[in-house]
Amino acid sequence: MALPQRQTDIGPPKYDQFLPPIIKKNYGKWKYHEVLTPGTMVHVAESGDKLYTVRVGSPRLLSTETIREICDLAEKYCDGYLRFTTRNNVEFLVSDKSKMDPLLAELKVKKYSVGGIGPRVSNVIHTQGWVHCHSACTDASGLVKAMMDELYDYFTTKELPNKVRLAVACCVNMCGAVHCSDIAIVAVHRKVPTINDEMVTKTCEIPTTIASCPTSAIRPNPAKKSVTINEEKCMYCGNCFTVCPPIDIHNPEEDGVAIVVGGKIGSLRTDPKFSKLAIPFFYNEPPRWPKVVAAIKNILETYAKHAKKHERVGEWIERIGWERFFKLTGIPFTFQHIDDFTFARDTFRTSAAFKY
């Protein structure tokens, strides 16, 4: 079968051809919106037109079969129009109000998870993990599934003080936005990489490899035409592995995940914030990482119990102080919590005022 003629540098198709007529008509002229249920909202245009949205949770990793199923629904209820959100949920764009109930009914039958709108948990930003990435030291998809099963009600029904953005990074490259999430998991190594000297000699550029180490832990090993690593200095970032794979950072027995909390993105009320370390380590416990999931639930529910309305996790913690966060959650404070890298100076407490 002959292939069609390839084209280059055409970029993506122009967005306007995918916009439903109601959006084309009211483009940029929306007046307000209302959240109707945890999974539905309506946007009202200046013209008075109303666009209904139904949001459905997605595992992000989708088979073509499921995509076709979703397309069927879109055609049935939305004239074929749908979109995905920046957190990988599916949104059905319903122009005709009368189609809402039937759509929701069919979604229910088909066991779709409707929710994620408003002050609650939405989908978990995550990346490849063991599914596809050589760099992974945990599986992102599995952690997400285990977490979301446990927090399911917070997606579909329960309200929280504000949105809680969850994320999982399967290594410190952090391909999601873990570094600014309300509660997130990041996979970490804890052991100095092992070096396959022969392969290093063959496949790596020694000076680049040495330069890749942020703590200058790597020194040349001229005898073996390879490198050595100073154990004292290595903080297991894996950057050497990225530039020179025979330096293997993986250690299935001692790899695992950390939990970070208190980040945010939006500038509402308080500046965007980085997430900070809450729990430095859990062993990988596939398939369902029960301890990790329990720890996240504990943090989420402590927040839900103590925060004021509209306060994000980080805003709540900053109001009460980190010392109080550790007390309320019962999380032990360890040496790992104290920064000894780039930001150390800013994180040490420089005040006589703190809570016991």
Partner: protein
Amino acid sequence: MSGKYKTPMLDELEKGPWPSFVTEIKKAAKKSPMADDELGQLEKSYVTKRGYWKHGGIVGVLGYGGGVIGRYSSLPEEFPGVAHFHTIRINQTSGFFYTAKALREICDIWDKYGSGLTNLHGSTGDLVLLGTKTQNLEAIFAEYSSRGWDLGGSGSAMRTPSCCVGPGRCEWSNYDTLDLTYNLTQEFQDELHRPAYPYKFKIKASGCACDCVASIARADLSIIGTWKGDIQIDQTEVKKYADSGMNIKAEIIDMCPTNCMAYDGKTLRIDNAECNRCMHCIAKMTKALRPGKERGATILVGSKAPIVVGSLLSWVIVPFIKVEPPYTELKNLIRKMIEWWDDNAKPRERIGELIETKGMRPFLEAIGVPPQPQQVKEPRKDPFFFWSESDFKK
């Protein structure tokens, strides 16, 4: 064809209410041996707690330098279906809008050449096709490109720009995020497809300070909509919020970061000169409050993930700029930024890192932006600062 593997570990992840990625892989595995071997290898990872992927080799399509992530199993004999398992990054549409027709077309081609697995979407924004073989790449590209779909970025290149839903469905969008993103993606086609930068460069565009595409945390260039002029107040709607039980004092007035709001039980007042346009009041009282009338965006630069000296959030460079087609001013500004970065960065140095290394001044001078207090949270603390010859002439 499918079901080659017993997957007791993964089967655990089909239980529970949240949609299961394992179910998705199994669905694909019914049709694709590649997907089935993915399932088998993943089960093994779950047992041994480690991945079995090798470092990606360089694979791609003719004339392009990116858009495909090479991926090979380290156990090709055990899992021949994933011996090659490359991903294809396809430019998503602005705002992730699709029609069922378009998505079906994408699926049809993918079923023909790949594993039938996708990510909707990748973290940068691309539509990610997960798992194919080297020999299929040219065919895949021909099929997609002939139907109007192009590859996304990878490697040291411009990456696929991405944006929030913006004017498509949001009442707060201060500029046309969809159109700008489309335009910028077209503008940088060459840089997107042929890696020639020191490292990756990402652009993300949000219509307001809610920043629904997380641009401030993960884009070298973050474009965040904002306004000038007074917040528009509809006092009748304010009253309705109060009547419907909103505690305006606690939820709005007391949470305004600049303390520039007042409410006497009847009228809501804003001292707009002191408002920092944080969006809190507008977001929580959407019927009553709307952004001011002169619209535009703040340009911020530099965010990235923590490798290797800590994460960066983007920094304010241009407090306010108009964002209107054909976006000439903004495009020129971006080109100047990239040029300076390209001229000065070491390999694998992001633009934010370069600014930190060189200092903000050379960057601002290169792009022709004057120093402004809006660029900093606070002025410097130490008394060690540089003087240029130009500073003495006066």
